[in-house]
């Protein structure tokens, strides 16, 4: 038995105390979860997706439960970057946990301007890095439009790359024919890490009214139902790129997180499970440490991509 295993990992040049991060859109701006957990214990906090300007989001109903999962169509409602800087980021400064800001835009210019603006304040506001959302299925412009095509992925990521020296994580969509091509395009364009998967597009129909249950008609599927799909894609991408991969998709217990790490994820993001159990992130961190200790593995990095085929 070893004493205390190393949980520290490095993603896009950012040092994380442990591989457990929060998935954008499921953890608000961090503060919402402070009554339940010590934010200092997290590997990193990824904030709710932000735009240059505030966005209203989609009409309700926006969420519906599905078998072992949920469908959402929030539509990236957000306060805009200036309110984020003024009212949300100062609260997080007191914590010693890297803050990664998930960014979106309607146009390339908006992504670029937003990345530039966050770069300007990154020292003062302690912004550790950016996660570029080119994978949201619930907005008409921007979002997934970029991430479903290798050329546009390359174009947008290389433009953002020029605008900022902040570490760039690119969040990929599973709604593509071959995710490996998109992953390569992002890597070539200068991404420092990739996170996947965003949600899978789906719908639910009310048989009485014969209308979709979400006002937006379609929504993004998340939760345990998507885990096998996410795991497969993480492993595919892990074999394709040299940059670190962050695994996301249906992680609700420590075993799920370990599966992703073994399949190649250097870190993981926890999403929907935060809604079910607000302490799930901490429980998974403790679980990973226990697993490493019990299996006599002294460093979590040894486990990354250790899958035997």
């Amino acid at each position: 038995m070893i004493d205390k295993p190393n949980l520290e990992v490095k993603i896009a040049g950012i040092k994380l105390k442990n591989p457990v991060m929060t998935a954008s859109g499921t953890f608000g701006y961090g503060e919402e979860f402070s009554p339940f957990i010590d934010l200092d214990k997290l590997g990193a906090i990824v904030l709710k997706g932000i735009f240059l300007k505030p966005k209203m989001g989609n009409p309700p109903p926006r969420v519906i439960e599905t078998p072992s999962g949920m469908l959402n169509a929030i539509g990236l409602q957000n306060v805009g970057v200036e309110v984020l800087i003024k009212e949300k980021l100062p609260y997080l400064k007191k914590y010693n946990t890297p803050v990664i800001i998930n960014i979106s835009g309607d146009t390339i210019e908006e992504y670029v301007e937003l990345a530039g603006r966050l770069g300007e304040v990154s020292k003062e506001m302690e912004v550790a890095g950016l996660e570029v959302n080119i994978s949201c299925p619930n907005v008409k412009k921007g979002g997934m439009v970029w991430g479903t095509n290798a050329k546009s992925t390359y174009k947008i990521i290389s433009s953002i790359r020029k605008a900022t020296s902040l570490p760039l994580v690119v969040k990929l969509t599973p709604n593509v024919t071959d995710i490996k091509i998109i992953a390569q395009a992002a890597e070539e364009a200068g991404a420092d890490a990739l996170s996947l998967i965003n949600t899978l597009v789906g719908m639910v129909v009310d048989i009485d009214s014969r209308r979709p249950k979400l006002a937006n008609v379609s929504g993004g599927l998340s939760g345990p139902a998507v885990k096998p799909v996410a795991l497969w894609l993480v492993w595919q991408v892990f074999q394709t790129v040299k940059i670190p991969v962050i695994g996301i998709g249906g992680i609700i217990k420590v075993e799920d997180a370990l599966e992703f790490i073994i399949a190649g994820a250097r870190a993981i993001e926890i999403g929907t499970a935060n809604f079910v159990n607000p302490r799930v992130t901490i429980e998974i961190i403790e679980g990973i440490e226990k697993y490493l200790t019990e299996n006599n593995i002294k460093d979590v990095n040894e486990l990354v991509g250790s899958i035997k085929i």
């Binding site: 499921t26 009554p35 505030p54 969420v63 409602q77 809604f275 079910v276």
Partner: protein, 284 residues
Amino acid sequence: MVNWSIGELKKKVSVILNIKVKILSRKEVASSIYLMKLKAPEIAQDALPGQFIHIKCSKGNYPLLRRPLSIHRIDKEKGEIYTLFQVMGEGTKLLAQRGVGDDLDIMGPIGNGFSIYPESRKIMIVGGGIGGAPLLALAEESIAQGKEVRVLIGALKKELVIGEESFKLLGAKVDVATDDGSYKYKGLVTDLLKRTIKEDWLADQIFACGPKPMLRKINEIALRANINCQVSLEERMACGIGACLGCVCKIKTKDKKESKVKYEYKRVCVDGPIFEGSEVIWDD
């Protein structure tokens, strides 16, 4: 310009706990309607009428999401809270099967709660169907504050009239309307509300909870009579703590400079569930 002032959205958020509480009793009080008593001193201590708890209905991860249920009664002395709910789907079905003595994983108290104005003397409370659930705690608090309270209950039929005796025991005057006329007044509870106004029993405040068309009508009646009206809204919910922005409703923005009505999406969970009837956009 839409008003995105976040400071304002947050003013009434109380500290939300996530705790395991014991089920003290469970009773089917009407067909598919259950009354559950929970030992939850930490929550009872802080809870306000109109707030809710977010319940994990089963022990495993099916169903996945929690279910929001309003707090029906608050017994601060005994450290107990009650919830009254109707079996609507898988979550509430499993909750109704949980045994006495079981531990229930809940989060709460959540939301802003009703605001009873100190200067109000007469309070009108209107509940439709299972919407009556949070109103008993409100009636109890109003009476404790020395207000004169009248309650109007609306239900589809006699068997679904809930809480009439409980409201009476508190000392409220209660009237009932059933859609099919199987009990007391035949018609809508909103007709009863109009009648009380015609009879010149003018409330200083109206509080309502129930189906949206009913709330909309009550708001219209209240506006015409120039009475403050607060409604409890519902929406499909995920996190229950203001993080996911899933449970929003359309609320008018305060900016009155422009002639066109503008709105923003506010969270039912922590910005509500209680809203002024006049600030809600009812047209969908």
